[in-house]
């Protein structure tokens, strides 16, 4: 049969955003693919060049609407590297709690979106129900529902509010029970197993060479995690291990990538509970905004010729900011801001993973890598 190119997207249920996947098909079999990105390119890097360091945080929140907190924290760590700021330990614990809650919320959003992708609609409603609990907790911290603008250079915006620890413990414990419900819903659904098992194989060495990290890599049976390999924040103080999945001989398939995210939600939930117990001065004390216990003093101008960067474990892989400081001539503004988006690198790899499978497998494979176009296009 003759081969032909078909265009999936920019409006297609598979895309989870606005982009096009050009697929070359031979009958029902995928022969070649080519992703086409840039539909929502906003020029964030250029805009950041005329904003000062505190103003940029809000733009970083908006890079990914499902995982705003991890992105703004990723940026803040790079700025603190540039300006050489030391952060109070209590602030680091609060950041850890915020980031891990956001990671759970992001994985829940993914799980909720992945269900309808492959014909399991009820799971979406269930996942969004629990995501709502996480968003309520994050709203208590940051003040808004999706774009929190929570971290500050040198600390955090606000301390944990009164009763936050109690409510978090209750909600996270409830959530840990509810995870079993999702597992029952997915693992006992024959349709889900048929559509995810045995499709979209990927091997760890190949993934690393292609620049794929995070949960997608750990699904391949490797326990590499930036939180343990290059420990930042207070991850070294907590008792935890990154989850690893046992893949099949041909590599990790879509089912392994689903399993690893469920396990990661569990690990993050346990981490939040432990951090609430270990936080210095206790989780129930409250400091006013700007107190030295939660916000260190930071310079607003960077030294001449300085640069800062920080590898950060985002919910989708390694995110990173590179900042070139401007010196006196640029005032408080950076000279160049460069963003490393995990999905920008992963989408081309995921597109290669589809070659050899059927057209009907494309949503299952693409969805299992957790694409987010907001951060991809910047």
């Amino acid at each position: 049969m003759a081969e032909m190119w078909i265009s999936m997207g920019p409006q297609h249920p598979m895309t989870h955003g606005l982009w096009t996947l050009k697929v070359k098909v031979d009958g029902e079999t995928v022969v070649d693919t080519e992703p086409d990105l840039g539909y929502i390119h906003r020029g964030v890097e250029k805009i950041c060049e005329s904003r000062d360091f505190t103003q940029i945080t809000t733009y970083c929140d908006r890079l990914c609407y499902a995982s705003a907190n991890t992105w703004s924290h990723s940026y803040i760590y790079a700025v603190e590297d540039l300006l050489e700021v030391e952060v109070p330990e209590r602030a680091e614990y609060i950041r850890l709690i915020a980031v891990e809650l956001q990671r759970i919320a992001s994985h829940l959003m993914w799980l909720g979106a992945y269900g309808p992708d492959i014909g399991n609609l009820s799971v979406m409603v269930w996942c969004l129900r629990e995501r709502e609990m996480m968003m309520d907790l994050l709203q208590e911290l940051g003040g808004s529902r999706m774009h929190y603008n929570f971290p500050r250079v040198g600390g955090v915006k606000r301390d944990l509010p009164h009763g936050f620890a109690q409510r978090t413990r209750a909600k996270v414990s409830l959530f840990l029970n509810r995870i079993q419900e999702y597992e029952a819903l997915f693992d006992e659904s024959t349709i889900f197993l048929i559509r995810t098992q045995g499709v979209g194989y990927s091997k760890p060495e190949e993934m690393v060479n292609h620049g794929v990290t995070g949960p997608n890599l750990r699904a391949g049976g490797v326990n590499y995690d930036i939180r343990t390999a290059h420990p930042y924040s207070v991850y070294s103080e907590l008792d935890w291990e990154p989850p690893v999945e046992r893949p099949s001989i041909k590599g990790a398939d879509c089912y392994d990538r689903y399993r690893i995210r469920v396990e990661e939600m569990r690990v993050s939930a346990m981490m939040v509970l432990e951090a609430l117990d270990k936080i210095p001065r206790g989780a129930d004390t409250y400091h006013e905004p700007g107190d030295p216990a939660i916000l260190a003093k930071a310079p607003s101008r960077s030294p001449e010729g300085a640069s800062g960067f920080h590898h950060f474990e985002d919910s989708r892989g390694e995110s990173m900011f590179y900042l070139a400081g401007g010196g006196e001539g640029r005032g408080k503004m950076p000279y160049r801001v460069s963003i490393r988006s995990p999905m920008f690198i992963t989408i081309p790899y995921a597109s290669k993973c589809m070659v050899g499978y059927k057209v009907a497998d494309i949503p299952a494979i693409m969805g299992s890598f957790d694409p987010c176009i907001g951060e991809t296009d910047r």
Binding site: G43, Y322, Y335
Partner: protein, 219 residues
Amino acid sequence: MGKVVPTSNQKSAAETMASALSSMDGVDAVVSERKNGTSPRNIVSVDCSNKNWRPLAVCMKVEHGVDYCSMITGIHWPEGSPDKNWEVIYHFMRMGVTDPPVVDGMVQPIVKDPSKLEGKDIPLEIEVRIALPETREPTVASVQDIWVGADWNEKETWDLVGIDFEGHEGMRRVLQPHETPVGFHPLQKQHKLRYHDFEEMYDDVQGFRRKPSDTGKIK
């Protein structure tokens, strides 16, 4: 206590690698210690000349096990010195990831204890900076065939900054529209943002209240 890579191990591994890389021609490698956050990070910080970049890349991949290309950044420094009008900055990481072994038909996941890693398994961060002199056509060698992860990074750097990668196959626009004029790369510094004032930007986004005297003012 979590199992993390100890700072002392990372520091000695970084020093070993920096001294090995420094012996190459046109390469200057040092260990730079960063002190933000809770634990210091030791980074192999490399300055490399343009013509020695390709041998350095091969050496890092083959002899030092640098298996992951994280990001490529291009910077345009029009008011900089004549030898550093452009800069390309590579960020690599050494992950030490291998495919998990198969025993009796079952894959055995690799669960390493990060606190006990040794030799080339110790994770490292590497930063390579290449300064380019004043030119209309900045070009560096492509490393697309060494790390496939550099492929789209190089495409993006060319698309937005205009630094060309010699030997890169399939170069095209990735973030900007395909019909963008040839030679337009928005992160070059001669392209300015339109707004000339923060206040105007927030109060008068569409510019209805712009005065004739504001014509040509830019930020």
